[in-house]
């Protein structure tokens, strides 16, 4: 198809309404949504899950499935109404003029076809180019997405590439036809932070280089700040505020946007002095939306008789061009009022050491053949010489990307695996060689775990109450069933869930509520040490704050030690007292939160800090993008585990990094770091995150 020359807005969505028709009737997913994307502009679409942002993207692709229908408004692409096009016209457009990139890269690639062939298909189908030309173009594009050795990549199958590389290929495929509009639906959610930073960098550069317009869908405000020019905040099917990044971030004019920003941990938030403000209440279900303003019931500025009546239009903000908000009280609210601090609390002093891990190692042997035991046995070093202590009522964050060994560490602590070497002591009792079945119920109850995925943490076929009662039974709490039932109800009170939830099935609960039940279950036997494996990373931003606060509160009351496993440095900075950074089975840095977040850093910590997107326009970051991927633990690099990606390697003399694992050095007062860099280098490091003077 000939590409049209057109210089008006690339995408114009006007008063779009999309509904899904199900057995239960019509469910409006998007209502009265308008947006405009100019050539070369990147529009960010931000909102919590279920707010309709992905539905908008599917609407643009005209791919709503059997149940979905556009029930009002229009979507114009380069001035042509997509809703009035025939299927074959749409087919011509998709993949050539509009390209979409999805969350899961492996699902977008055909596992049975070589990368090269999949890339070459695009121009061959849409423009009828010859195979040779298509191949040449493919090589160029693979180079443009900064993949090493393009000819080799073209000959590879998708499964031979890592997640980050796969996503780069998906982007390359989208670029093959030089589309005018690129839709990115959470393109980095499935990737690690440092890999994500690379992709974000790439997307930004490509936008500049090719002049492609972008629709960037994300739940992460920080990411949108880094990639987009304009922003549209969605809530419950409606756009509530839109404007340029600077306008929305610095002069937000909708209560939801404001509440959203207050519930994410920005630098400066502190769990004791300035705790996060969670948005109260729950996200309304599509068929239970309140009359008037959808955000009304959760809004601090709600006015009865006004906010809950009739239709609320988007209204422009004085003084800002193209900045609009769906609020009736824009001019009445004092937007610059300081945040009403939720109760600040005194810092709790850490007590005695309750958990001590000394020189712990965990190796796995992988045999080639299970039945006859192959001759070759390979060793996976999941944990190498891990040493740390955790004290009573202290939060120790364990930070690292996938494959760094933090889950193995948790398994060894819990007794699901036994350590290969070294000591683990809990409350003066050695537990490193005691598997869980040999631990006493009291020991098991003392050390409990909160899991990552809220949709997976509860048994879907047992009521919430029965699951907590079962934990109480196993831990030997209570004399009889009625006592346990009573205790279960108290636990529900503890995690601030109504007692009626005891009889509900997990599928009737929202993600945040499930996670609360998971917390209640972990604390059933008065746990003293709780390992929390990314407990909030799968939750929506506004729910994250509430669950985090709950964990902190229970910890404060019970003097619990919290081992908080996470890859999200913002939340770690907010809630932890000490931080331990892991890479490829090694602890590379450990120290107080202050020490770890300020220089000198370990080079890996430095990269991690720079990779985390921060939703604050006043923050200046040093950009450090790591090359390549995390090496496999089966075949770790010689010497320092981080040497293959380290930016400071050349600053160490004599190739020491490639020969020797650096020793753990103590810098000052408990701040330890595993690096060969000289003291002089370390002391000259600059902070990664700078908050501009206000």
């Amino acid at each position: 198809m000939e590409k049209l020359d057109y210089d008006g807005p690339i995408l114009e969505i006007e008063k779009l309404s999309i509904s899904f028709f199900t057995r239960a009737g019509e469910i409006p997913a998007v209502m009265d949504f308008s947006a405009k994307v100019m050539p070369g502009e990147a529009l960010g679409l931000v909102g919590e899950s279920g707010c309709g942002k992905s539905t908008v993207a599917l609407g643009v692709m005209q791919d709503l499935g059997v149940n979905g229908r556009v029930v009002g408004g229009s979507i114009k692409f380069k001035g042509r109404d997509l809703g009035k096009m025939s299927q074959s016209e749409l087919r011509d457009l998709r993949g050539s003029e509009i390209a979409m990139i999805y969350q899961e890269p492996m699902a977008s690639l055909n596992p049975a076809m070589k990368i090269g062939k999949q890339l070459m298909e695009v121009p061959m189908i849409h423009e009828g180019t010859s195979a040779e030309e298509a191949r040449k173009l493919a090589l160029e594009v693979v180079e443009a997405v900064r993949l090493p050795d393009p000819p080799r990549i073209l000959e590879a199958f998708p499964h031979q590439l890592s997640g980050g590389q796969q996503q780069r290929i998906v982007i390359a495929m989208a670029l093959m036809s030089k589309p005018s509009l690129l839709i990115l639906d959470e393109p980095t959610t499935a990737l690690d932070v440092t890999v994500e930073a690379g992709i974000v960098d790439l997307v930004k550069d490509l936008g500049r280089q090719f002049g492609t317009s972008m629709l960037f869908i994300s739940h992460n405000l920080g990411l949108v700040l880094e990639t987009c020019d304009r922003l549209c905040v969605m809530y419950s099917g409606e756009a509530v505020e839109r404007g340029s990044i600077a306008e929305v971030f610095d002069q937000m004019r909708h209560p939801y946007t404001e509440a959203l920003f207050r519930s994410i941990p920005l630098p400066g938030a502190d769990k004791n002095a300035r705790p996060l403000v969670a948005i109260r209440g729950n996200f309304p279900l599509p068929h239970e939306r309140p009359p008037g303003c959808n955000f009304g019931p959760r809004c601090d500025y709600f006015e009865d008789g006004r906010c809950n009546q009739g239709y609320i239009p988007m209204s422009p903000i004085d003084g800002n061009e193209r900045h609009e908000s769906r609020c009736l009280r824009i001019t009445e609210i004092d937007w610059d009022a300081p945040i009403v601090a939720a109760d600040s609390t005194a810092k709790v002093e850490a007590g005695d050491v309750v958990l001590k891990v000394d020189d712990m190692k965990k190796y796995y042997e992988v045999a080639a053949n299970a039945m006859f035991g192959g001759a070759e046995k390979r060793v996976v070093k999941a944990n190498e010489t891990i040493t740390f202590e955790a004290r009573e009522s202290e939060t120790l964050a364990i930070v690292g990307e996938s494959g760094c060994g933090k889950s193995t560490l948790a398994k060894v602590l819990m007794g699901l695996e036994t350590a290969t070497d070294g000591n683990v002591t809990m409350l003066n009792k050695a537990i490193d060689q005691v598997p869980i079945e040999d631990r006493s119920p009291k020991d098991v109850a003392t050390l409990q775990m909160v899991f990552q995925n809220p949709f997976d943490t509860l048994n879907p076929s047992m009521t919430v109450g029965a699951q907590i009662v079962r934990a109480l039974e196993v831990f030997g709490v209570g004399e009889n069933q009625s006592q346990r039932r009573q205790r279960m109800l108290e636990l529900l009170d503890l995690v601030k869930l109504p007692r009626a939830f005891a009889g509900r099935m997990p599928r009737q609960l929202s993600g945040g509520q499930k996670q609360r039940v998971g917390i209640a279950r972990a604390f059933a036997g008065a746990a003293q040490i709780v390992v929390a494996d990314e407990p909030v990373s799968a939750l929506d931003v506004s729910v994250q704050a509430a669950v985090t606060d709950l964990l902190m509160e229970i910890q404060r009351e019970n003097k619990t030690t919290l081992l908080f496993i996470s890859h999200d440095l913002s939340i770690v900075r907010y809630l932890s007292d000490r931080v331990m950074v892991m890479y490829l089975g090694h602890v590379v840095e450990v120290g107080d939160t202050e020490q770890v977040f300020s220089p000198p850093y370990h080079p890996y910590t430095e990269a991690l800090l720079s990779a985390v997107p921060i939703a604050d326009t006043s923050v200046e970051k040093k950009r450090i993008v790591l090359d390549g991927d995390i090496p496999s633990a089966m075949n770790p690099p010689s010497g320092c585990p981080f040497q293959t990606r380290c930016k400071h390697k050349e600053n160490v003399e004599g190739g020491l990094c490639e020969r020797e694992v650096p020793p753990m050095r103590t810098l000052d007062d408990g701040h330890q770091i595993k690096c060969h860099l000289s003291d002089k280098w370390l002391s000259e490091m600059e902070p990664v995150i700078k908050i501009a003077a206000e």
């Binding site: 299970a370 039945m371 007794g415 775990m449 279950r521």
Partner: protein, 482 residues
């Protein structure tokens, strides 16, 4: 007396049925052809959120197909209702549907109750949202009710299954009973004709359903017990246990089924007691299953655990011993405490069917366990110190129930066919048994001259298995939705 025609005074309905069928056939064909050429006309959404009916030619054909299908259903209902009222006046169909009156009433009660409360009935209730599932469920319940009314009260069949009225040999359907004393209380007609030994085909089909409905689900339940009890540990532990168990499962699956059956029912093999020993092993699995199920759940509450275990295991053990203990077989030691005997033939059939089905169930359960054991709730159970069997039976098994229920329905169907095959080869059950397989085999001999003795049980078998497959389809479809 006059022989009955097929539809009697309801015969005008035949033309309506013919017409509706023709229209439906034409409609479906046009629909298929237009789908190849015509493009979708956009669906119009009204202001109030409802969808406007599709217009144009395609809309028209859609309407025609829908209405002609409804007409066919209507005519069939008219045959049944008319038959129930008019009885023999409405011909063979009328008389047959009148005989099935208790079944119709039971079906109507079941459906109306289920439809009323379908929102509170979980997956079973959702079945009533799927037409395919409803048809399947209807067919299956038809045979279940038939077997129940026949087995308990004997009120469906017109004659005794083994009763021979000499003059009725190979008589066509609807023939009046002749050569007997009219006051002896015999039913006036052989509704679906007589077979080669002058027995009533209709009554034999109805009595046959009792055997099929009794053996097939029970054998399938036993196969599931065996498959689950072995499949869960294989999937959960993995490693060498899994390798060995899977190897044996493959071994059984690779063995020719028919040969296996022949071996098991050969008198010489039966003399050695192999089927009895196999029964002794296979029937042990339910006891193991329930024992572990109860103990793993209630181990923390001895005050419930002990009495429950003693009670359940006690009852099961007595039933188990009575089942495997047979006079005249190598296992015969109980003497007077032996509560009941199961006819040797049925036991053998049972054992063979369980033996052949359990490896497949084993593989399904193993696969599901492999998948579910990676979930966080399993890890949560492990980290609170639950034993492996609690995790397998209370954390993994309940969450594998969806695919297992679907497979259960399909597998009853396979078992029914397997029973038919066994009967057809004359294996297991006695030759005079009215089960469908055996009757098909008998009817086969004169098939070209008198087809009805073979066709009737064949259609019965077909409708039951079809019903089970449709039911499984409906369940799968509904369990995939939301």
């Amino acid at each position: 007396m006059e022989p009955l025609t097929w539809t009697g005074i309801l015969s005008p309905l035949n033309y309506a049925l013919l017409l509706a069928t023709l229209v439906l056939a034409v409609g479906v064909v046009t629909q298929l052809i237009t789908a190849l050429f015509a493009t979708d006309e956009p669906l119009v959404v009204n202001r109030d959120g409802t969808l406007a009916a599709q217009g144009g030619f395609r809309g028209l054909t859609n309407e025609i197909v829908r209405w002609s299908f409804l007409a066919i259903v209507g005519v069939i209902v008219a045959y049944i209702v008319g038959g129930v009222i008019l009885g023999r006046d409405a011909g063979i169909l009328g008389a047959v549907s009148q005989r099935f009156l208790p079944v119709w009433i039971a079906l109507i009660v079941t459906f109306s109750l289920s439809m009323t409360f379908k929102r509170n009935l979980g997956l079973y209730g959702k079945l009533f949202d799927s037409p395919v599932g409803m048809i399947g469920f209807g067919l299956v319940m038809f045979w279940v009710f038939t077997a129940a009314f026949e087995g308990f009260f004997g009120i469906i069949s017109t004659h005794e299954a083994l009763e021979q009225l000499v003059r009725m040999k190979n008589e066509a359907p609807g023939s009046p009973v002749e050569g007997v004393d009219p006051d002896a209380g015999y039913y006036s007609h052989y509704l679906l004709g007589g077979d080669n030994l002058a027995r009533d085909v209709f009554s034999r089909m109805v009595s046959g359903s009792v055997i099929v409905i009794l053996i097939a689900p029970f054998a399938t339940i036993f196969a599931f017990m065996v498959g689950i009890t072995l499949g869960l540990p294989a999937g959960y532990y993995g490693g060498r246990l899994d390798t060995i168990l899977s190897f044996f499962a493959n071994l059984i699956l690779a063995f020719p089924v028919i040969l296996l059956f022949y071996l098991l029912v050969t008198p010489e093999i039966r003399q050695t007691g192999i089927p009895t020993y196999m029964a002794a092993v296979l029937f042990l699995f339910p006891i193991i299953f329930f024992g572990i199920l109860i103990h793993s759940k209630f181990r923390t509450r001895p005050e419930i655990n002990t009495p429950l275990l003693v009670g359940v295991l006690g009852v099961l053990s007595i039933v188990y011993l009575s089942t495997i203990n047979q006079e005249g077989t190598p296992i015969d030691f109980l003497g007077f405490i032996d509560l009941f005997d199961i006819a040797g033939g049925i036991l053998t059939v049972f054992v063979s069917v369980v033996f052949v089905n359990s490896p497949t169930v084993f593989r399904i359960v193993r696969g599901l366990a492999l998948d579910i054991k990676t979930r966080d709730y399993v890890a949560a159970a492990q980290t609170r110190g639950e034993g492996p069997f609690y995790i397998m039976l209370w954390e993994i098994l309940p969450n594998a129930r969806g695919p297992l229920i679907v497979d259960f329905c399909l597998r009853i169907g396979y078992t029914t066919i397997l029973l038919g095959t066994l009967g057809f080869f004359g294996l297991g059950l006695p030759p005079e048994s009215p089960d469908w397989g055996a009757t098909i085999n008998e009817g086969r001999k004169l098939l070209s001259v008198y087809p009805h003795p073979a066709i009737v049980p064949a259609v019965a078998l077909l409708s039951l298995v079809l019903g089970l497959n449709l039911l499984a389809d409906g369940l799968r479809e509904q369990s995939l939705k939301d």
